[in-house]
Symmetry: C2
DNA sequence: TCAATAGTTCAATTATATTGAACTATTGAA
DNA sequence: TTCAATAGTTCAATATAATTGAACTATTGA
């Protein structure tokens, strides 16, 4: 059984958030999540990219460990939720400002 | 004679800016520049860090190629200026929002 | 002319990203 | 309850980026 590690709000760092969002694929994932009720599985992201699933899994882990998403295993799939409120508590306005210019 | 390459405003990308600012040392450099009239030389940054000067030179290059600073050779030293207005034209409000939470 | 200063460039090492293959876990159907 | 299908992780290998010391260029000022 895989257990996911999520940082607490106070452990979310600015450079951690920026690093996580500094990758085009990860930024697209976050944008997609805001467009579809803040939830996205790894296999939903796959068709939009030409990446190996191990690479996608890696990207979701980076986002998770930066505190940007929360991953919950539901049945056979992982549901990833944007931690919008947490990030907004930690860095008010930052995420929206970045997403404003993503695409 | 070393010639510096600076991207034009329209060539500044969001992920480029985020990558550049996602490094703690580079973020500190940018913060320092805003605190001291938007100008900083490589040797001014050196005492604040335990980094090799070749590494610092590399960091200034990353910032330059991301469009965040403009480097001008004056005598024996390089003066680096924050391209605050350019970045603000490209992504209004973004840089200030990030700097708000840098330290 | 020459030492000092500022910084770049190079080659080598270290760290991180990407991938295919093998693996675990869950579901749903025979 | 078995077994194939699905979803995703983990591993080992390779490719790409970061870090550094050493050698270099360019400028100044004595």
């Amino acid at each position: 059984m895989v257990q996911f590690v999520h940082p607490s709000i106070e452990d979310i760092t600015l450079t951690g958030v920026l690093s996580a969002l500094a990758d085009p694929m990860r930024l697209r994932i976050v944008v997609s999540m805001t467009e579809k009720n803040d939830c996205m599985s790894c296999s939903e992201a796959a068709p939009c990219s030409s990446m190996a699933k191990s690479t996608l899994s890696h990207h979701f882990r980076i986002l998770r460990e930066a505190g940007i998403i929360r991953t919950v295993k539901v049945g056979v799939e992982n549901r990833n939720f944007l931690r919008g409120e947490d990030i907004n508590n930690r860095f008010p306005g930052l995420l929206n400002e970045i997403l404003k210019y993503a695409n």
